[in-house]
Subunit: 285 residues, 2 copies
């Protein structure tokens, strides 16, 4: 990771991939995960090797934008990553943010809640981790688990988790109204692809630590999870906190599309350096 100075000249980059809008879940429109091909690479006219240069330019641009976001200090950015096991949440973070400055970028992981967390409402721990001004916070899993695993495993009654779509939308509305840009990515892999990835973990000594027997129990509930994701995405994709369904069977394409969307949204913020103070007559002695 390098933390370079801000490039003076903004280059038009990533124009090779267009129409990332096709992956956005449109509020109010009918929505089915079946309409999204986990193998898709439609927005890029080329293969993995050819994508590398585009991805490198996006990475460079993201580095610049993150530094500018930090200097500007008026905006906060929340990025939510969700997906089945092996969908690539860790890999996406590692590759997409490998040049950004950890001073302004934090990852919050949401695992099994602690007793203290369970003693509070389920959004308590999520709200606590939200970005401050100038920050990017990446949620590796998130408050959405409270309508996913909680639903699939019936950890609370349906009448209780069903109210949560509304709560979540309203918390995100608050955040957006108060200056947070919110981007939510569902990393969409196929069940066959997951099988291959789990087998790869089993076969590779260096990947074996990532294998968790519990993942197989979750895999056995694949259809229930897809249904839970489908409803969650449909009910909580809003103009101020959209969901994107990212084809994630191909890792290079997953990274390319997520990078592109983040860069596009940061570009649209109109970030700028703060006005310099009046420095007339100031000398360094």
């Amino acid at each position: 990771m390098t933390v370079g100075g801000l490039r003076a000249k903004v280059r038009a980059i990533g124009d090779d991939i267009e129409n990332t809008e096709r992956y956005r879940v449109v509020p109010g429109a009918s929505f089915s995960l079946l309409d999204y091909d986990p193998n898709g690479t439609k927005t890029f006219d080329g293969n993995k090797k050819e994508s590398q240069e585009v991805f490198d330019r996006l990475n460079q641009r993201l580095e610049d934008l993150q530094e500018l976001l930090y200097a500007d200090g008026r905006h906060k950015v929340l990025i939510v990553l969700q997906g089945m096991d092996t969908a690539g949440k860790d890999g996406a973070i590692r590759h997409i943010f490998d040049r950004t400055n950890p001073q302004g970028v934090k990852v919050a992981s949401f695992k099994r809640p602690t007793p203290l967390e369970l003693a509070h409402d389920y959004l308590w721990r999520a709200h606590a981790q939200m970005p401050g001004s100038g920050e990017i916070v990446i949620f590796n899993r998130s408050h959405y688990e409270d309508v996913l695993v909680v639903r699939v495993d019936a950890l609370v009654p349906e009448e209780r988790w069903r109210k949560r779509y509304h709560h979540i939308v309203e918390l995100e509305r608050l955040l957006a109204d108060e200056g947070t840009t919110i981007l939510k990515f569902f990393l969409h892999i196929s069940k066959d692809e997951q099988k291959e990835r789990l087998e790869a973990r089993l076969a590779d000594k260096e990947k074996l630590w990532k294998f968790d027997k519990g993942d197989l129990a979750v895999r056995a509930k694949w259809d229930a999870y897809q249904a839970a994701y489908e409803e969650a995405l449909a009910r909580t994709s809003t103009s101020f906190a959209p969901w994107y369904v990212i084809p994630a069977n191909k890792k290079w394409y997953r990274n390319l599309v997520i990078s592109k969307i983040i860069v596009e949204r940061l570009e649209a913020l109109g970030l700028k350096h703060p006005e310099p103070q009046d420095l007339a007559g100031v000398t360094v002695v």
Copy 2:
């Protein structure tokens, strides 16, 4: 403060004061602070001296209920206190909660936000302080300051603070849906009463430390604050998080009514000790 055992027998107490409902701000109904007399003592047929025994019994009952709430562990309780300077927020806390156990009762004071707090949305610091299971948390001032002083002093544009009524209602809905009982008290004093109390602070060496010149600047904006309170109470009093306008010129009556309402609401929760574990054959060796 004593932490006594739970009395076996629940006594009917505080029945001398009735109709505390008259102080509740009814959602959707027309509402004017002018309809509420700060001098009122209408629900109690007696004077300060005669009220003492009733208040003592309420205090005792609150001690028992708080211990039961803690043991029960299924409910959380949030109590919000707001009012102009000298309205008696500190005094109400000291008198009403003087027997409760600090292990289960916390006071959160909201003063001028820190830079870290200002870097987040305005409800961030309030959410962080919300009660956990079995806890009572008392907000001495609260997130409502973000539609009070923020409005009166135009700290953010109107289009921004006006959205906050909705945010606040929705955060409180989340809390209520997830098991929090919410009670909000506006300690209603008259402008003349505030004058006397401020003068008393100036005249008494032991009270002088509480005098803040800044209070006079706030007092000069009395009408703007009353208008801000009036709209805030009207827009955010809900079935799940009601506001009560408490006549607060007479301190004894203020304490009596708040105690009564808290006791009534805790009684209604149906608190009980958890089912004992199966202890057949257990001996202490």
